[in-house]
Symmetry: C3
Subunit: 208 residues, 3 copies
């Protein structure tokens, strides 16, 4: 029970982190209220929705958990006031930690859902990566930028990809679901934070 | 019967308006014939198709009404000749009225379809907004612009969102479908036109 | 049997060609390894996946043929080394021939699949065009460019559209599938190569 509550708390943090990154991007581009809500919505739910479309899973993530839709609208409307009141700067740097948490939780959760529906290991891992990464890609496309996940030479999707295989391995070993999710998410979050701290870089393709 | 004919006539106007806005955008970017047809197609049918994918509704909008596909190809091919012949300028301003009509009809129709399939009120309203707004977002992404609906500080999606709740309310009161659709569309169109006429603006998020 | 092997060999060439065009575009934009793999993946499988979503066909293209996913990851990782080793320039020009082959094969295959599922001729042809063209559109959106297929004034989608009708006609005449696919693909490839060789152009819409 306590474990389960912890998992839900993590999930909440993940959704909020992704929604936040959407709010920030949209605000940077001087979007209006509607744009901010829509971009944060797409960032938080885009990946899970594409996964559900590809897996023909129904009902969809955000239909199942309608509470999130209301929470997100409230979040996007309330955030600016909150930040102005606190004289706080909402920089990209400030969301790296919750974003890493979102990456871990969404990858582990997406991979697990696909495995449960009988997908092969590779497809399951790809579904985990899609769940975690595609929301941010949609966000960047909507604000007319090159997707950061493809371009910033930081290990991001590649960490998710590796972590998805950990979930597959633990699942094959019949480890209980909540432990699988915790260990999988935890490892991804840890490696991602180490990558940020030590500035690990992916090489760029130079053949052109 | 007369009412029904009126509803169909409105729907035709809505599809034409959205297709037109696609043609104009594509022509502005100097797209070729194929690009003009494709962008106008995506603009007119993108929102309804995404709604149908999300609701797992089959057959799809434009498969069901194949006539529209042919009409659209004809429209995109014929339009330039028509406009050159008439020495008429096809400005953005010129399509604001039919675009408002499209917004109203597509929102009311999309919301109603989702309600009929048993979706919750909030999801139904979001489906209405998706039906009306997503085509234009796809259009702007394809011509490599920031989506206007998120950025132009005009009440657009927000009018659709409010109007969707009117459809939900009328449906809950067991008002006949055709009246629900007419009143819902009519209100959205009216508010949208007032917003254009009086230059109502949404505040921009200024916290960054 | 020999015929079938030939068809499969063509299909391999088509997937490789589209993946290649994704690799080149991503490398040009200085994407990192993850970006290169993702863009080449989306380019090669995006069209077929959208077709399968629209036709509610399951399992999806790349789930069915998981080998391709592995092949693609290997391809994107190996390619740069290969090209650097050969002192070869990987220009856009260099992929026009395999790309034409991909256009032909994907259009014929997509049209045929839709026909088999009972779609109408027009919808089947559109599905063929979607299969062949959408991957490239996704690629261009991801690298933040205007989709080339809509913009470069070369006959590309329009060749696919015409070729799809050849597949529909041959299918209606009860020609064996392998011959239908070969003739359909072959005609599209031939016309596309002629269009490149002689620099055929589509007129631009000039009314704005």
């Amino acid at each position: 029970m306590t474990l389960n509550t912890f998992v839900i708390a993590l999930e909440v943090l993940g959704v909020i982190a992704f929604a936040l990154s959407g709010v920030i991007e949209a605000a940077r581009k001087h979007f209006d209220l509607v744009g901010v809500v829509m971009v944060s919505f797409v960032t938080a739910f885009g990946g899970g929705t594409l996964r559900d479309v590809l897996l023909e899973r129904k009902p969809f993530f955000w239909v199942e958990q309608e509470f999130w839709v209301w929470a997100l609208i409230g979040l996007a409307v309330a955030l600016p006031f909150f930040f102005r009141a606190r004289h706080m700067e909402l920089t990209e740097r400030a969301i790296l930690v919750p974003d890493a948490i979102g990456l871990g939780i969404f990858t582990a959760g997406g991979t697990h859902i696909a495995l449960e529906l009988g997908s092969s290991p590779l497809v399951s891992v790809l579904m985990g990566v899609i769940t975690a990464v595609v929301g941010g890609v949609f966000r960047d496309v909507l604000v007319n930028e090159v997707p950061r996940a493809f371009h910033d030479h930081q290990p991001y999707a590649v960490v998710a990809f590796a972590g998805g295989w950990v979930v597959v391995a633990l699942d094959a070993l019949a480890v209980p679901t909540s432990i699988t999710l915790l260990v999988g998410s935890g490892l991804i979050i840890l490696v991602r934070l180490l990558a940020i701290k030590f500035g690990w870089e992916l090489k760029r393709w130079r053949f052109l």
